[in-house]
Symmetry: C2
Subunit: 325 residues, 2 copies
């Protein structure tokens, strides 16, 4: 329990799994020593290929993640897996088969698996997930797969700064495709129709191809997202998916887009931490100071409107130099 | 175009619909005059019953919203409807039947309907939606229905500070109920199984009742959320739903929970505006100042970790007293 940040950092670089696990727990619990360790290890991160994986509920994301990890292991590459579940800690949706597969995987010293729930405050999960990505990156993992349980806005925010983002769906009614349409189409670098042995797979595949072709893009695209089919349970299509992930990585490096993605992720990561700091600092001011309580009281009494209240709070925080460490 | 804030505010209180529409557009476009009008009208808000309505895609939320509004009109109560679609502006999913119903409604001077998309920056939609709620409240609407298109995290954040929150689902496979489980169960004050003439309605109803009974609650509940069935297309069950909404309102007032909800909403509204201010101010510093750019550059160069970067940015913002008006 008396691990110092320096000690944990040193053991992490020596590939000590327990140090990695311990540091992640400290991050989740918001322990201040974690901050120092994160600072030290930042210099050693930046080598992993960060792969995000999201999609419709029930589309078999966990199975696909397991299969991908097994494939990478067969090539002797090391893998970190982060399962993100922003919903209540009560759900925990992994199927038994996945749990067994995950357990097999987790016996492998070159695989590191961690589930993360919404323990922290609002916005905290995304910050903590980034911290864990950075830890596993410095820990030397070649691939870090960030898998989300659902496909909501929080999940999209979390995976969209991965270097390669995979969107998974499955054959089914128009509704599922509809669900993908909603915001998620823009973030996919690779689209997968899993459970491709089910009825309607070809239809879903062609619908998806059409949607990807006509998707709104901000800039002239130089990467056309492939639409692939998979049967993750049987392992079919997994090698091809891994190939597409590597193709995307080569594209990112050669086009200079990797640098852009890294800049975007750094910026987003910093802004998220900043917002979390501000939210916590403002919460502390409201809960502990007369002037903070007074702001809310005047709002409720309709004397102070929300925008002016935010200005006042910003003033109170600036006085404190936002110092909430 | 030369409407001053005072002029718009005065016309709003005189029930001028064009003034309301104009002010909402100014809010969406982030025009500074809107701020002043919002400040003036705050004193005149706080009378409406704010009803949030969310749920699975395809569950018929829009139809239900229309029917509710028609019911309120039959009782001579005025209604504001805000349709929130946090996904890209490309979707716009209202069915033709709903559009016709909405058009009928929108001919009624006592109904005000507005759709809001994700035009603004990240987090901006929630702030803008709250601004519009406050405008319609001061405009004198008895009920303000905030309906979301999807059921993602952003939607939940938007409706959870409504005074009465309705969660809609429909008969179907376990998957739909699963989707409701994820985070949304906690926020519902009333649950509706719509399309209750479909196969499996009774099963869905009893599943949902079970889930509501066993849902995790933070405090000892004094309100047990009713689980109701509806066929919104035919108008069946709408009167009962309106009755439950009024029951909940009476409960909120008598239990003192209304005060708590208002305090919670004020606090959340202020924090969201504050976060948006901070994000925008930090973005401006990064885009326009050497010191801001330098922070990102050192992050990318692995000299500066994200948490220390956020501290530095907080310092830069505090120097400027966060003044981004």
């Amino acid at each position: 329990m008396s691990d110092t940040a320096e000690e944990l950092f040193r053991r992490l670089l020596e590939k000590d799994r327990r140090a990695a696990a311990r540091l992640i727990t400290m991050v989740e619990n918001g322990q201040p020593e974690a901050r120092e360790a994160l600072r030290l290890l930042h210099r050693h991160s930046g080598r992993a290929h960060i792969v995000g994986l999201t999609g419709s509920p029930g589309s078999g994301k966990s199975t696909l993640t397991c299969r991908l990890a097994q494939h990478y292991r067969s090539l002797d590459r090391s893998v970190g897996i982060i399962c993100v579940d922003p919903t209540s800690p009560f759900t925990g949706g992994a199927l038994l088969g996945d749990r067994v597969r995950m357990q097999e995987l987790s016996g492998d010293p070159e695989v590191f698996i961690r589930s993360m729930g919404s323990r922290g405050a609002l916005g905290g999960l995304s910050v903590a997930t980034n911290d864990v990505i950075n830890i596993l990156d410095a820990f030397g993992k070649d691939y870090i797969i960030v898998e989300t349980v659902g496909a909501g806005q929080v999940e999209i925010e979390i995976v969209k700064f991965a270097q390669t983002c995979i969107v998974v769906t499955m054959p089914g009614a128009g509704d599922e495709i509809q669900a993908i349409k909603a915001g998620i189409l823009e973030i996919g670098d690779i689209f997968v129709v899993n459970k491709a042995d089910r009825e309607g797979a070809l239809r879903t595949l062609s619908d998806l191809e059409m949607m990807v072709e006509t998707r709104p893009v901000r800039e002239e695209p130089t990467w056309t997202p492939p639409v692939m089919s998979c049967i993750a349970l049987e392992g079919t299509g997994v090698e091809e998916l891994a190939g597409a992930i590597d193709d995307h990585w080569v594209y990112l490096r050669q086009s200079g887009m990797l640098e852009q993605k890294i800049i975007g992720r750094m910026r987003a990561e910093m802004l998220e931490i900043l917002n979390l700091k501000v939210t916590r600092a403002a919460g502390a001011v409201i809960d502990s100071e007369g002037r903070g309580q007074d702001i809310i009281k005047r709002m409720v009494g309709r004397e102070l409107d929300p925008h002016s209240a935010a200005d006042e709070m910003a003033g109170l925080l600036a006085e404190r130099e936002l110092d909430v460490r």
